[in-house]
Chain length 291, copies 2
């Protein structure tokens, strides 16, 4: 079979052998937002048509490909939801020469009733397999980080923080543009930003401090982007994580490493899950489907 993770801005496909072994892997920048309406089947065939032709035709997809503006909407499964509910929500797409299925996203609401959605992260979470039964708090860092509450292998709710997206926007378009051009690779400055986030004052006020600290020579400009990054993640972690929790971090190792540092600075334990949870999740779902 073929496993596909098709997000907003990226496409990632795995050709799997009969034992679930990865025989080939392909990545492309053709994310779901780059595909015109009605063009998903053709785009998929352009990316991996040869694999589909050679194989048994089974294709399982997750991510934004199942959104309303994706290939076919795989309606959100509402929380609380366990692995069984997720599998029940998988939808089949009519397509020539293949048996394609799409994993649904999930919908929740925060404590004030404001809706929450995710797509793709559900596959990663259940890709943690047996361990997931013991999870209470999961964080999937990214442009839009997801903070998930779980109990007994069930997703109970989640909350999104736009820190990553804000980080890029602030560097691109605000007064901090000029002083945050360096790559954010200074861990000491990152931790200074996290410490600043622990202090009183709201985010919009702390942001202006990035400029004044550089302007007055209190911070070197080379560290300003790392400080800004720490400030944003610090505010996020301060609001979402709580003392005594064990946070399971899922995602890119470097990104998770920054969250681990920020959590540690707030005396909160965390562990970074092994890489490859999306593929493991797709395999686990595929094994439960009647093809």
């Amino acid at each position: 079979m073929i496993a596909v993770i098709w997000g907003s801005t990226s496409f990632h496909a795995y050709k799997l052998g009969s034992e679930g072994n990865v025989e080939a892997e392909r990545t492309s920048a053709r994310g779901a937002v780059a595909v015109p309406a009605g063009g998903f089947e053709e785009a998929l065939k352009q990316e991996i048509g040869d694999w589909i032709h050679e194989g048994d035709g089974r294709v399982l997809l997750s991510g934004m490909v199942g959104a309303r503006r994706g290939w076919k909407e795989a309606p959100y499964v509402t929380v609380p939801a366990d692995f069984d509910r997720l599998v029940e929500g998988v939808v089949r797409v009519e397509a020539e020469g293949m048996d394609a299925r799409i994993v649904p996203g999930m919908m929740a609401a925060d404590e004030n009733g404001v809706p929450e959605v995710l797509r793709g992260e559900e596959t990663q979470i259940f890709g943690c397999a047996g361990e997931v039964e013991k999870f209470a708090r999961v964080c999937l860092p990214g442009l839009h980080s997801k903070w998930v509450r779980m109990e007994g292998g069930q997703i109970r709710g989640f909350s999104t923080s736009m820190s990553g997206d804000l980080f890029n926007a602030i560097r691109a378009s605000t007064i901090l543009h000029a002083c945050t051009k360096h790559e954010p690779n200074d861990d000491d400055a990152f931790l200074m930003g996290v410490e600043r986030a622990k202090q009183s004052g709201e985010l919009s006020h702390h942001l202006f401090g990035v400029r004044t600290l550089v302007l007055t020579g209190s911070m070197k400009e080379a560290g300003a982007s790392s400080f800004l990054y720490g400030l944003l993640i610090g505010h996020e972690v301060k609001a979402e994580a709580h003392a005594g929790e064990m946070v399971h971090l899922i995602g890119d190792a470097k990104l998770c490493g920054h969250y681990e540092m920020a959590l540690l600075a707030m005396d909160i334990s965390s562990t970074i899950e092994p890489q490859g949870t999306a593929l493991k999740g797709l395999k686990r779902i595929a094994a439960r489907l009647e093809w």
Copy 2:
């Protein structure tokens, strides 16, 4: 004499008669950031050279023109500072055919020792004349809003919030770009955003809600930019203003009107100062200088 308000992105000059009456007024988009180093005298003469030639040569300027990268640095006056201290800080610039002086900015530190700066707002505050003796809390809304603490006519400290700059950056470069294209002119949606800011959760989380509320049909897209604006100003006001305070709002009437609404939604009284405080401040300073 001539009074000039020369900010980062705009130039505003007034030709004043002997009674302080405005004889002529000129505005241009040539802000201080658009002037190359060493080019301020020439830029000023291009804008108002004819006025300088006709008049007695006195020119008083305030704003970013006095920054390190401006015409000549007018070093920040540190708080606490009253009107006398501000007048003492005015610097003279060598320039042909005129007697030019620049009003200094002010420097403070927030409760955690992070530096704070302003340039131009000091002139507006002291432009409120006699009343300023009674001010305790002043807010000058803008791209970088200033929240000022005063006592007995003295500026004791201030805090900056980047809400306006963030509002523009979020609409320009984040996932909210697509749903916040409408002009922010829906007062009901604005107030919904302010109410949302009063709820639990940090700003980066509340921001993602703008998308999900539109996605799920809970909010019309036409109101999303106003909601976002209310959210940002709401978080700012919640952090900066306190029950029982009377906030004096100085600045553009429409902008101040939005802050007045947000403050009222949090049961905090405010009053909008009459327009023209910058010019009044320059006249008041000019009257105290020895030309």
